[in-house]
Subunit: 264 residues, 2 copies
DNA sequence: AACAAGATCCCACTATATGGGATCGATTGG
DNA sequence: CCAATCGATCCCATATAGTGGGATCTTGTT
């Protein structure tokens, strides 16, 4: 379950990064994403792609025929069952998801907060699963999406075992794309604390009002292969609750890890 | 196992349904499905598509670049995070799934059998969700897949409210594609019983050894919008257990329906 | 070190996708 | 009730975008 993001190395042909030779395929995928983004009818799709009705219609029709999209006369286009199937398979491909699910369900029922499960994919934290939680607040995150490692509790839990050189690397990645809240020294200092306790926090460092507690999941070899986080707004997450959650999170993380063969 | 497109004996009219004009897109989708089917490297993909290395590579590269596939030097291709995201969204698009999940999780924990959630899509039962269960037996079904209505417990639960004319229609669909176990009269008779009790069974009618109990889920208007089934092999499902499960299934079906606004 | 297998790149040819426009069906409103 | 509108679907001449053979590079194997 690894994937490194290739860095565009050809400055000659322009910055687009779009390797030509598959226009039709890319347009088809763009349609999928446009529909996921809420486009319901042909004009909307044409606008999103910048193609004519004809072309858009032909591609959309092919996607419907292959069940990647659904089409209903009065409602327009929707995401199709084939995506359900492929998405489900992609999720099952990572054994972590299947093993962690029941544990996280139980935790979710118990604490009522939003729970995320994720892995390290290249320099990013990739969300594999999400359990919404009972509160009416909506945490804006999506399964399949990438988040910066340095700023999220989940990301920090994923790199708990790495050395300081690598920690700096992740901090620098964040620096490159916009200002940080904490300076390097503070951030490293916190990471050291998190590493020592085997739990990572996020105290509104990234998003105001949003706090979370995250724990690392280890495989049989003891390596961190995934992490999960319990997220809520500050009103449900005072210092006392975070401390209490730390214990729970550590216990659940241990249970999942043991299911993966971890002996620690 | 395969999503087959039936090949007509007479290729005169080109009945394949493949609307030309999107070869590249269709090939790209075929790659996705080949990878889902286990193809790991370029030669395997080329063979599955019947295209040259070049073409296959270009399409696969585009899919990797768009995160629909992953590629790792030693492991080859895999389904990518984008599919996770789209699949998750497709699932959330049906509110039933979200509402039913917690109830089904609880039921799953309680009974340990495989549970399916599905809706009626045209003349088919479409699987929306699947909870594996604790037994080591594997029920071969996939989320996003379609099953015949007439032969599965889930399918029969979906059409419980329809009239006999429509029942006959579904029975005829099955007849067209291979022999039935029960004759029409028997089948209709059973359907009447199921309808009267508000629960559908499948007593190895479809697959030997496989039995299930299925219940209908109703929306605020009382219409059946989905159904779920508890499936197991006959060794875990004697008559007594089926009777016991009927009560549980009816209760859970009612609870989910009430969450959807049903007042019954 | 030479070999083998797979991935990646390149380029001339043509099969393939493109978009303008015509058609058709359903909704809206006058 | 008919006219106008909007969206979906179909058709076809054109050139553009995709194809595949082969060269090249990378990585693991004997």
């Amino acid at each position: 379950m690894w994937d490194d993001t290739p860095v565009p190395s050809k400055p000659s042909t322009g910055e687009t990064g779009a390797a030509p030779g598959s226009q039709t395929l890319l347009r088809g995928l763009a349609i999928l994403e446009a529909v996921a983004g809420g486009a319901r009818d042909l004009p909307a799709l044409s606008a999103a792609l910048g193609t004519t009705r004809s072309t858009t219609h032909r591609l959309a029709a092919a996607l419907v025929e292959r069940r990647y999209l659904t089409f209903a006369p009065r409602e327009g286009y929707g995401l199709g069952p084939k995506l359900l199937e492929l998405g489900f398979r992609a999720q099952q491909a990572a054994p972590v998801t299947r093993v962690a699910r029941p544990h996280l369900e139980r935790l979710s029922a118990e604490c009522g907060d939003t729970i995320h499960l994720g892995v390290l994919e290249g320099d990013w934290a990739l969300y594999l699963d999400k359990l919404p939680g009972r509160r009416r607040i909506e945490i804006s995150s999506r399964v399949g999406e990438r988040q910066p490692v340095w700023s999220t509790g989940l990301g920090k839990a994923l790199i708990l075992d790495l050395d300081e050189t690598r920690w700096r690397h992740f901090y620098r990645l964040g620096e490159a794309r916009g200002g940080h809240s904490p300076d390097l020294a503070t951030w490293l200092d916190r990471m050291r604390t998190y590493a020592a306790r085997g739990i990572a926090y996020d105290r509104e460092e990234n998003e105001p009002e949003v706090r979370c507690v995250a724990g690392p999941i280890r495989d049989a070899g003891g390596a961190i292969v995934a992490a999960f986080s319990v997220t809520s707004t500050v009103q449900y997450m005072d210092e006392a609750r975070m401390e209490a959650l730390a214990g729970t999170v550590r216990a659940v993380a241990g249970a999942i890890s043991r299911d993966l063969g971890w002996a620690g």
